[in-house]
Amino acid sequence: MAKKEYEVADTVDITDQVCPMTFVVAKAALAELEIGQVLRVYLADGEPMLNVPRSFRDDGQQVLALTPAGDGTYDLDVKKLEEE
């Protein structure tokens, strides 16, 4: 995997959450970061993989990457662009 050009400031695991708490927990984790910092979200395939990145984009945040982790889960990297 290519080396990412950013540092991940924090991570949050939402693989055990169900909608809509998936996004709520991820959003709360991003709220703790500063503008410009990156949060890595561990999320499950299916609905979370479809909905959580879209919800972050709707909030005005930047989705940097959505990478399969190889075990059926995904790593979602989100850069905080604005306070929500």
């Binding site: 809509p20 708490m21 959003k27 709220a31 929500e84």
Partner: protein, 274 residues
């Protein structure tokens, strides 16, 4: 401070909203709102503000729960008959949301106590049923530089407007002075459909929430009216702040709070709620 998993779930539908989010919910949890009157307007406002997680809610009412209140004052139940309204309301709010600190004031608001009571709060909700207290709330809030939402309801109609210092007219700019005695019937005489209190009281709660979160457009300089029989909402643009207003004008003539007399027809007590 970060929210606990319980708080995240409780407030999840707020947090999902872009306009509220974690930031807005934290503002709500830190906010202090005073509700004057635990009656028709105050009941739904108190329920929704407690559910929304407003950190401190003060509630003022000197009355006890009466059977005729229950048709619209939905924060009280039949088992609360005879209890002080503030205690009944506080119990319901705490049951909905134990995170909320409820402060009760079982007293009539008057010129002697209102400044001390409103001083601790960020926003005031007028949920009273009489003009003397409406003017008292307005004048005290103008003098204290405190934002508040006014509302009035009767029969099938309701109205509300919000005052924020420096952002538009006050209640007295618009309505000037007490109506003549017997010019306006009380709800006891005129009647009121219960759900109108719910609609207008909820709109008051929304004004408080918008103010706290700093979102949307408040009803500053606008008067919203609702006619339930016609199913019509109207928003009327109000004239700007009146420089000759007796309380918020450039040279105010009202510099001390006034305890107006109750209209003779009304046996509703001072500070009691619709």
């Amino acid at each position: 401070m970060a929210f606990s998993p319980e708080e995240l779930e409780r407030y999840s539908r707020h947090i999902i909203l872009k306009e509220v989010g974690v930031k807005g919910q934290k503002k709500l949890c830190a906010a202090k709102v005073l509700i004057v009157g635990a009656g028709g307007l105050g009941a739904p406002a108190a329920l929704y503000l407690a559910a929304a997680g407003v950190g401190t809610i003060g509630i003022v009412d000197a009355d006890e729960v009466d059977l005729s209140n229950l048709q619209r004052q939905i924060i009280h139940g039949t088992s609360d008959l005879g209890r002080p309204k503030v205690e009944s309301a506080a119990d319901t709010m705490r049951d909905i949301n134990p995170h909320v600190t409820v402060k009760t004031y079982q007293e009539f608001l008057d010129s002697a106590n209102i400044m001390d009571i409103i001083a601790d709060y960020d926003f005031v909700i007028d949920g009273v049923d009489n003009f003397p207290t409406k003017f008292l709330i307005n004048d005290a809030c103008v003098m204290a530089g405190k934002p508040f939402v006014h509302a009035g309801i009767i029969r099938f109609k309701g109205q509300l407007m919000t005052y924020v210092p420096g952002q538009g007219p006050c209640y007295r700019c618009v309505f000037h002075d007490m109506p003549p005695k017997d010019a306006v019937p009380t709800c006891k005489q005129a009647g009121i459909i219960g759900a109108i209190a719910g609609i207008i009281g909820c709109l008051e709660a929304l004004e408080a929430i918008k103010y706290i979160c700093g979102i949307g457009e408040l009803l500053c300089g606008r008067l919203l009216t609702f006619d339930a029989l016609k199913g019509d909402f109207h928003t009327i643009k109000l004239p700007p702040r009146d420089p000759n207003c007796a309380v918020c004008g450039d040279h105010p003539t009202i510099t001390e709070l006034i305890d107006y007399e109750q209209p003779e027809c009304a046996d509703a007590q001072h500070g009691s709620a619709l």
